[in-house]
């Protein structure tokens, strides 16, 4: 997001203020009158619900990125792949984001069911309230493995630490991340179209996201 902020402000008269937080909290704040211009959610459900509730226009809704799921361990030189994950004797604790709350958590649950290991992993699961916390659990080594966002494992701060396996996208539903314009302002529309520009698409690709094929 910081890259996007810098690129946006370099080309615009407007300044971007980023308010970080989980999608569920932001949803609650928006429905209670938070003064946000644009909402970038980690999922599709919440922006859509804002449209259904009349707090945003259908036309202001679009998918800005596709998240990718990755299996990560702090241990170096592990051969992480689907067999490693399926053989649950390889690990004691695996961290995921809460499937009820976070799209990456839901994708993790779908991955377990594609591999047919739901019941095997159920006693080994710990859940973060969001993907950042799931990553913390794995990064601190308290969890042997974490199913996290590929964008996290590719972060420059991590610079090749640990082992990673980019989970093939056919093993779970696509992690579509939607944004929605909340107020009718020039700045909001400018930012929204900027999010579809080549500059942003490049930033997203280098940070471990995939691009939506076309706006839904």
């Amino acid at each position: 997001m910081q890259h996007i902020k810098r690129a946006f402000e370099g080309n615009s008269a407007h300044e971007l203020r980023i308010i970080r937080g989980s999608s569920g909290k932001h949803y609650a704040q928006i429905t209670n009158g938070a003064p946000f211009d644009v909402f970038l959610s980690a999922d599709q459900g919440r922006p859509r619900r804002l449209v259904e509730e009349g707090l945003a226009e259908e036309s202001g809704l679009s998918t800005y990125a596709l998240g990718q799921l990755a299996l990560w361990s702090r241990k170096k030189d592990l051969e992480l792949d689907r067999d490693y994950l399926s053989n649950t004797s390889n690990y004691r604790v695996i961290a995921i984001a809460n499937p009820r709350l976070a799209p990456y958590g839901q994708a993790a649950a779908e991955l377990f069911s594609s591999l047919g290991v739901e019941s095997l992993v159920s006693g080994r699961l710990v859940m973060g309230e969001n993907i950042a916390q799931a990553f913390q659990f794995a990064f601190s080594g308290n969890a042997d493995l974490g199913l996290v966002a590929y964008s996290q494992t590719e972060s420059p701060n991590l610079s090749g630490q640990g082992s990673v396996w980019l989970v093939p996208s056919e093993l779970h539903q696509p992690i579509k991340q939607d944004m929605v314009i909340l107020i009718d302002s020039a700045a909001a529309f400018e930012f929204s179209s900027f999010m579809k520009s080549a500059v942003v698409r490049d930033i997203l690709l280098t940070n471990g996201y995939l691009l939506p094929e076309a706006t839904p």
């Binding site: 569920g24 604790v93 710990v126 859940m127 916390q133 601190s140 080594g141 308290n142 969890a143």
Partner: protein, 227 residues
């Protein structure tokens, strides 16, 4: 109204608060006694350390506990060396976190209560031939009843409402580390507002009853003293 996981969360919360309070009363008694009676110079430093959990944001405290629990952390390395399971994501890890988090709420009322006794009752007991342990059990404890009640209720209530520490070290495991505050938070995040309201109302009501109990007991105690 309350679904099964919510009831499990309620039970875990009560168990956590009760266990933490009991441990803190046991450990807090000698600590508070020492603080109330010592003339040592390190007393102020120890008092400051005990009050620190009031300053540190709970999620920060939880984050450092998480690091300490990790295999290279001081606590994680110790438990591994002793052949014990890791403290992270376990009920006993939560007990440790809660004990640190609620420590000042138990130690401070006990310390005030001990300090308020003065030297006279103990000296009288000593001249009557009571041994130190006997003096503590038959003189100090009965006279400090209010202090213990306050310490127990504050420690219990503070642990009931604990959120940040558990969020960081719990791992949200139903029936093990998923406490009430986390369950409420999850409902809010999942936009299940009515379940969240039910649980929050339950937490508020039970906390109100606990606090009401202590304040009316406190009032009765003072009436008894002045009568």
């Amino acid at each position: 109204m309350l679904a099964q996981p919510d009831i499990a969360a309620l039970l875990i919360t009560l168990k956590l608060a009760a266990t933490t309070t009991l441990i803190l009363l046991l450990l807090g008694t000698p600590l508070a006694w020492w603080l109330a009676t010592t003339r040592s110079r390190v007393r102020s430093a120890i008092e400051a350390v005990i009050a620190l959990p009031l300053v540190l944001p709970p999620t920060v405290l939880g984050f450092y506990l998480l690091l300490a629990f990790s295999p290279d952390g001081p606590i994680g390395a110790t438990t591994a060396a002793l052949g014990l399971p890791s403290m992270a994501f376990s009920f006993w890890g939560l007990v440790l976190g809660s004990a640190i988090y609620s420590l000042p709420f138990v130690v401070q009322p006990l310390q005030n209560s001990f300090a308020g006794l003065g030297r006279v009752p103990l000296e009288v007991a000593a001249t009557l031939g009571a041994r130190p342990l006997d003096r503590f059990i038959s003189v100090v404890l009965p006279l400090s009843k209010m202090g213990y009640l306050t310490a127990a209720v504050l420690g219990f209530a503070h642990t009931l409402g604990e959120f940040g520490v558990v969020l960081m070290i719990g791992g949200n495991i139903p029936g093990e580390t998923q406490v009430l505050s986390i369950a409420i938070y999850d409902h809010v995040e999942a936009l299940e507002y009515s379940q969240a309201h039910w649980l929050a109302a339950g937490l508020l009501l039970s906390s109100f009853l606990v606090l009401l109990m202590i304040y009316s007991a406190n009032r009765r105690f003072h009436l008894m003293k002045t009568a």
